[in-house]
Symmetry: C2
Subunit: 271 residues, 2 copies
């Protein structure tokens, strides 16, 4: 599976991801949701809460001709939330108070029935790189941010999962749908037992050659009661539903026959 | 927390990580284990099973002056396991049959009581970049690989978690211990309820200034029954145990007093 004329990268910012105290489920959630829309996330980078790291990851991603860069993390009120400040400095744009973002921050506290002072830390969440558009956050205080740079769209989302997901659904999905066009896609898993991955490998190599647009991948699952177990993953895209169904049936048929021939068992899991 | 004179990067290879069908728990496990040894993983990159992506990620990591680069994934027998082949091509070294690695592959099958033919797919797992040292894999077929390039150590591990962990413990840990020296480290979590993260922020900013070598980070956990919840993470390093204990007690004391002053509750979780 490859994107045509579109490169999408994700940069997740946070010390807790590098020390492993948080598992990067934001990255897998975003990858899965981009795949559902028919495209693939081309790269994920995980960087520290550091201006230098944020800037170098952004510049490297731009140099790889990304069409869309999604930053996640570092938009909150605390001293180590420096994503927007770092991007501003990196691309040479001023960090300015965005009136619309300020109103979103105020609105969040109002919606909780709270009267709070607009302290420096709260105002900080409305300080965006010049030329940005704030993206409404229905689940938390800090708005997301959209900006364009050299033909590349940069979206910044908070790292708190429920806030990230809410802004993704409301404001990011649309950008990806525009890129994806009308590609149809299906995914299947086949469980295989009783043959080694290395026995399957030459067959899969040929199968991949016959179907270059399909993604075909075996995952070894070790041994159960002395019997080798595998899961074969198929991920198929086509321009319409009927050719998608045909390709899928052909590949499934070939896999099942080959495994049987080698004395193993295969079962297609319907999803 | 920052490494002195050592930069460690992780490059995880696998389409399944980009489509989110697999969560990158290898990355968090490795990050956690490096942190336990007193260092920090400086960057994680997730790339596709693609020669171009593997090569660009390696070159970029070298250009960031990494001292240690750990690759995970793509060492197996199948057509899309191309990490070693891609690294070889990228750094201009031949891919050659390594006798010691070949013996390790044979030994694995023997240990399972199996007589198998050494097919091209099985031999492939012993084809390493010239000048490499194979690393014993007690949990699977494909050996890990160690090579040195321009003063940087490159380690390649399989993506199957139990195999990765086994080789990490046996062959990677030692490299990191050498880098880490004798730094002492402790981590604490403090749960805080009843005050906003933005209320805590100016206090944390000052606290961070007073303890520049401590890592201090608040994680908002939303509302429970209308009460704001946070977790404060402390990660502290020092050159001996007694100064580590002193710093920890000072910081905990200051946090608890401040939260109380603002009408909230704080509880230190002993680990």
């Amino acid at each position: 599976m490859k994107n045509e004329n579109a490169r999408i990268e994700l940069i997740t910012v946070g010390h807790e991801l590098l020390t492993g105290s948080t598992v990067n489920t934001n990255a897998s959630w975003i990858g899965r949701n981009i795949a559902r829309l028919g495209l693939i996330l081309n790269r994920v980078s995980v960087v520290d809460d550091s201006s230098e790291e944020i800037c170098s990851s952004l510049k490297e991603s731009l140099s790889r001709n990304s069409s869309l860069i999604i930053f996640v993390g570092g938009l909150g009120p605390t001293h180590d939330d420096i994503t927007l400040e770092s991007i501003s400095k990196c691309i040479g744009r001023k960090l300015v108070l965005n009136r619309e973002a300020m109103e979103m921050v105020r609105e969040y506290y109002r919606s909780k029935g709270l009267k709070v002072r607009m302290t420096a830390e709260r105002i900080k969440m409305a300080m965006l790189p010049e030329g940005s558009v704030p993206l409404r956050n229905n689940k938390g205080t800090a708005p997301g941010v959209k900006l364009e740079l050299e033909g590349c769209i940069i979206l910044c989302l908070p790292g708190v999962p429920r806030e990230m997901k809410s802004i993704f659904r409301e404001s990011v999905k649309g950008e990806i749908v525009k890129m994806a066009g009308r590609v149809q896609r299906v995914r299947r898993l086949i469980t295989i037992s009783g043959i080694f991955e290395s026995t399957l490998a030459p067959f899969l190599k040929e199968l991949q050659k016959s179907y270059p647009n399909a993604y075909i991948k075996s995952h070894p699952k070790g041994f159960e009661e002395g019997v080798s177990k595998l899961v074969l993953e198929l991920d198929i895209r086509a321009l319409n539903r009927s050719s998608l169904r045909n390709i899928l049936e052909e590949i499934e048929g070939k896999v099942v026959s080959y495994v049987k021939l080698k004395g193993g068992k295969a079962e297609v899991l319907k999803q």
